[in-house]
């Protein structure tokens, strides 16, 4: 068995997905939430920032909960890309 086994590679994937992709997905979703919340800009921005840490916790737990290692990559990456696409579409539409 090599030093870096299949399992430990999987764990490494989950850890990096949780920390990095989880953060990117959270930040992008928080931006999306700040755009679409029907509040004053100041309120919308603060509300989404206040709640973002709970979402991040959820993302991290999700990365370790899913059955297959690669799901951490696809699920969190998917959330990130989805939020990114919608955000770009909205900014493009508005301006």
């Amino acid at each position: 068995m090599s030093v870096v086994s299949r399992h430990s590679f999987g764990v490494l994937l989950r850890v990096s997905c949780a920390a990095l992709l989880g953060y990117l997905a959270t930040a992008e979703t928080a931006v999306l939430a700040a755009w679409i919340l029907p509040l004053e800009p100041m309120s919308a921005v603060l509300t989404s920032m206040l709640l973002s840490f709970l979402l991040y916790s959820g993302c991290i737990m999700w990365a370790f909960h899913v059955r297959q290692h690669w799901r951490a990559l696809t699920d969190l990456g998917g959330l990130w890309l989805l939020a990114l696409l919608v955000n770009n579409a909205m900014v493009g539409g508005a301006g």
Binding site: G10, V11, R14, A19, T26, A27, E28, A30, V31, A33, A34, W35, L39, E40, P41, M42, S43, A44, V45, L46, T47, S48, M49, L50, S52, F53, Y56, S57, I60, M61, F64, H65, V66, R67, H69, N87
Partner: protein, 530 residues
Amino acid sequence: MKGSFFRSMTWLHTWGGLLACWLLFLVFFAGTLSYFRYEISWWMQPESHHLPRQQEQNAALQQALARLQADAPDSPQWFINLPDERNPLTRYGYRQAPEPGQRRGRFVDGYLLGDNAQQTAVLRDTKGGDFFYRLHFDLHYMSAITARWIVGAAAMIMLVGLVTGIVIHRRIFADFFTFRKGKGARSWLDIHNISSVLALPYHLMITYTGLLTLMFLYMSAPVDKVYPGGRGQFFNDQNPTFQAVKAAGEQRDEPLPVQAFVERFKADKQLDTISRININNPADENATVTLYGREPGQIAHYARSTLYDSQGEVLGNSREGQFYAPEKTASTLIALHTAKFAPWPLRWLFALGGLLGCVMVASGGVLWAKRLEEKRLKAAQPLGWNLRLVKALNIATVAGLPLASLVFLYLNRLLAPDFDARRDWEMHGFFICYVITLLFALYQPGRRGWAVIWAATAALALLLPLLNLFTTGHHVLDYLSYGHWALAGLELTVMVLGIVACFAARHCLGQENSGRRRVASTRSYKEQPQ
């Protein structure tokens, strides 16, 4: 990941917790001491212990202004902090004009001597309680921003650790009252559960609000991308007193009518007292004055403030009347973290929560080591360097940080008051002590290691009042008779903790034999069939 939700969350809780536990202990420990930041600072400047408390705010203000006018008429910035219940002296300070190559000049500060306008108090240079306050999110020996990201990552692990801890804890109410003594890892699990569950609302609050205090660093994307004008505009809109007014470059003739501003400010904002004054470019035509006051009985974390120009024209006003709900929510949550509003009984309750947080984190680390040790002993495997490292880090952090803090206090009294680098060496001493403790613990990672460090902590803690008596002539009874409750309280609390450390040392020594016996019996059990 390993089959069920329960098992994957247990895995995450265990390994995330192990990775961050020593840093988290440091944050909990230094953060808990920060509840008594001003009291620690006061104790660490014994020259101020006999000074009378300044009572009259206007007189103090006039004295400080006169002082600043005499010391630094051309400084770009003055500030005055007026005394309150927790800070007995008026603190004034100014920024020196920047030297070539510097973006900002150095800060110089001093304290007014009680009721004498002509003299200032010469207090020894120390970081005081601010050391622990800064340590708990800025760490030391590294840039503050790097440190904040590291502490932020640890705080996220803590938050996830709490949520996963709740999820995997299936008997949360039964375990509220469960403690099985003398059962090795089982007992440590009980301690971990009790300390976590008893103060669970506190743990969740302090972790989440800790992240919020730095949310403009950690999660700035929404404000940067969505708020019109970005972060800078956000801060300007949220607090219109944050305006930079450029100096005109022309000298002003008559002094600023600060007293008149203060009266107007108190009337406009319905305050009895003010807490702080900032004056930018005091000698310039375009001088600005910012006044701050705190409304008593308010939890939320904002001061009422107004920015005046030199003619008394209002340039900006804090918006406490027009806050949006999320602003109020955010500032109340952040206020729960800093506990500036907390009266003494509540402050102690918060400190108790912080202490339970320390126990929670520490027992988690010890539990991990105990389980691995029992597993390896049962399997008759060598204990291994990784277990030794974890055990040593446990000792050096849990018992070593209190010891290092005491060394910090001792150095404060032992270094000469006029030694130039004393402020730095108090702090170096803290870290040197930590490193020595860690080396010792690596050499002696068992119960004896714990016992020695606890004993050293106990000795320093119990001798602290004596040290103070011999180096400054002040003692607890002295403080009590003067009504300096905070100073007496600090020494008495340290002594109580010293007694606790005494018991801890005795407990560790006492168990050394029984531990060996248990190991022996496991071995003989293993060996019997052969």
